[in-house]
Amino acid sequence: MTGAPLLETRGLSKTFVSRTLRSRSSVRAVDDVSFAVLAGQAVGLVGESGSGKSTVARLIARLERPTAGQILLDGRDVIAAERHRASRAYRHQVQMIFQDPFSSLNPTHTVGYHLRRSVRIHGTAGDLTRDEAVQAVLRDVRLDSVPGIADRYPHELSGGQRQRVAIARALAARPALIVADEPTSMLDVSVRVGILNLLGSLREDRDIGLLLITHDLGSARYSTSHTLVMYAGRILESGPSSDLIAAPQHPYTKLLVGSVPRRGGVRAPVDEQASGAGQPAPAAGCPFAPRCPARLSQCDTVMPGQTWLAESRWVRCHLFGPGGSRPDPLQTGREVAH
């Protein structure tokens, strides 16, 4: 289907239910999430821990099954077509990088093994032998200068090197989309930029889409062109990265941006009430209402819909009106007919 985005989610939801003998509790980790990633585009999904962003990543990587909603790859509804298990074709298109560079590599296997498997499963060696293909992908992630790297075990590498191996493994499958779940949060500060630069250059050279999950606004701003802000399973604001971070509209986004330590020392004061956290999200209405300094009466009962502020910029907040148009994942500002 031409013109369709590379990846699109519509109303994606995931509810975790825990059943004990006496009680049953459910947590809506992801609630009605809709967005799109175009080929070669980098989209950032920003939120705190518990916001559901990692669950979104796992849903797209098909490690979990959504409770509701659709995932479309190149316009094709993936969940409907492959209900129980992701097909090899899907795995070929969508790869994932995990947060912890140590636990994402099997300690009993060498670097070469990890990469060979990826090449073998997806048959991406082409004219090269498998070992040559492994060397090629190591070159792509700039690890070829490390002597004997293919025969090393993960524990012999630094955090940054391991994360490059994880990227190489994803790359060896020649995917169209890479989902990166906090790829730099467990790395040293001086190493983070290198990894983000690597992802950026790979994206540009090969037109790979990137969904970057992070809690660090600075990374989102640096690496992505479009950012979505997530809170308690819902997307509250969406827009071009630099614009959204420079001029946040939603009270939660303002709180996030205002809490980042500033070098200059100049900071906007943060509302006291908003800092008090720890309460579970209410069942109805806006999940941020209990902490919001600008809370209105309808915030407790009605979930605000989308309000478009500009082309590809929208916010879900009663301060901007009740909204209500169906979310347009392409972020183009047009009403979606349905």
Binding site: A61, L63, S103, S104, P107, H109, R117, S118, D151
Partner: protein, 310 residues
């Protein structure tokens, strides 16, 4: 550039060095090896039929009969030597069977989760709750008297403990990111179980194996002592059975039961020692300072001898 073979050699060297540095491991391994040798060389050590009547009953140890004669007139030493075969063989086979079943069931329960896990755990719990020895007795009483049914009975009574241990550890391994990563890369479930999860349980499986072998040797002897084993074979357990039925304890003919008891104890202790040693190798907190010093000194020495391999 290091080749895979030299990487393997390095790994084996470190493992061997660790094992030999641990006094427990050395003791256990030596004892087991000696017993295996005895079993293999039985025809050389004590030629002839061990169940033949060679003289008057209840003779004390002498030059002609190193450990005297039994209540039936058999040479006790010959019985002991030949009996090692049965005891060790059945013990090993039982151990391997239990480890195999335990790993298969424990891994499946952990990996698949859901109703499969619930069902298998229920099964494990049932077999754990049923008292072992009575179960052994009841099953042995019903089944035909052969070595294979003995192995079967021992395995049925003993698999659940190993399965539970494997399942517990596998549960934590299955939740690691590298298993999820393997799924995302596109590996099939069976391949993930065998190639990703299993290698990370290898030390636990080794421990379970040695524990099961020790159990096999001991429980076999218990069954045979109660007269429920295959009485036509010669084994440490049957020696004890005949000693009991011939009232050796009352008669004071100690050579008819003490040597068999000693060998049994040695064998089980040796497997336990190997068990602990493997635990120590994999769990650094259990290592003693002496083992550590030994290991470091030896590794340094070996590295000096083979600098290119280090």
């Amino acid at each position: 550039m290091t080749r895979p073979l030299s990487v393997l050699r390095r790994f084996v060297l470190a493992g061997y060095t660790r094992l030999t540095a641990s006094r427990k491991a050395v003791f256990g391994a030596l004892v087991i090896l000696c017993l295996i040798l005895v079993a293999l060389l039985a025809p050389l050590i004590s030629p002839g039929n061990s169940q033949a009547v060679v003289g008057p009953e209840n003779l004390p140890p002498s030059a002609a009969h190193l450990l005297g004669t039994s209540g039936q007139g058999n040479d006790v030493f010959a019985q002991l030597v030949w009996g090692t075969r049965n005891s060790l063989a059945v013990g090993f086979v039982t151990g391997v069977a239990i480890a195999f079943v335990g790993v298969a069931i424990g891994l499946s329960a952990a990996f698949f989760g859901g109703w499969i896990d619930n069902l298998l755990t229920l099964l494990m719990n049932i077999f754990l709750v049923i008292p072992g020895l009575p179960l052994l007795v009841v099953m042995a009483a019903f089944l035909p008297r052969s070595t294979w049914s003995v192995i079967f009975v021992l395995a049925i009574a003993g698999w659940a403990g190993s399965a539970r241990v494997i399942r517990a550890q596998a549960l934590s391994v299955v939740r690691r990111d590298y298993v999820a990563a393997a799924t995302v890369v596109g590996e099939r479930p069976l391949r993930i179980i065998v190639s990703e999860v299993l290698p990370n349980l290898s030390s636990l499986i080794a421990t379970v194996l040695f524990g099961a072998i020790g159990y096999g040797i001991g429980a076999l002897a218990a069954l045979q002592f109660l007269g429920l084993g295959n009485l036509s074979t010669v084994s440490w357990g049957t020696i004890l059975y005949w000693a009991q039925s011939d009232s050796s304890l009352l008669q004071g003919t100690w050579w008819q039961f003490i040597p068999a008891g000693v060998l049994l104890t040695l064998a089980c202790t040796a497997t336990s020692m190997l068990n602990f040693a493997i635990d120590e190798i994999t769990n650094p907190r259990l290592r003693t300072t002496r083992d550590r010093v030994n290991f470091m000194v030896r590794l340094a020495r070996r590295r000096r001898e083979q600098p290119h391999a280090a």
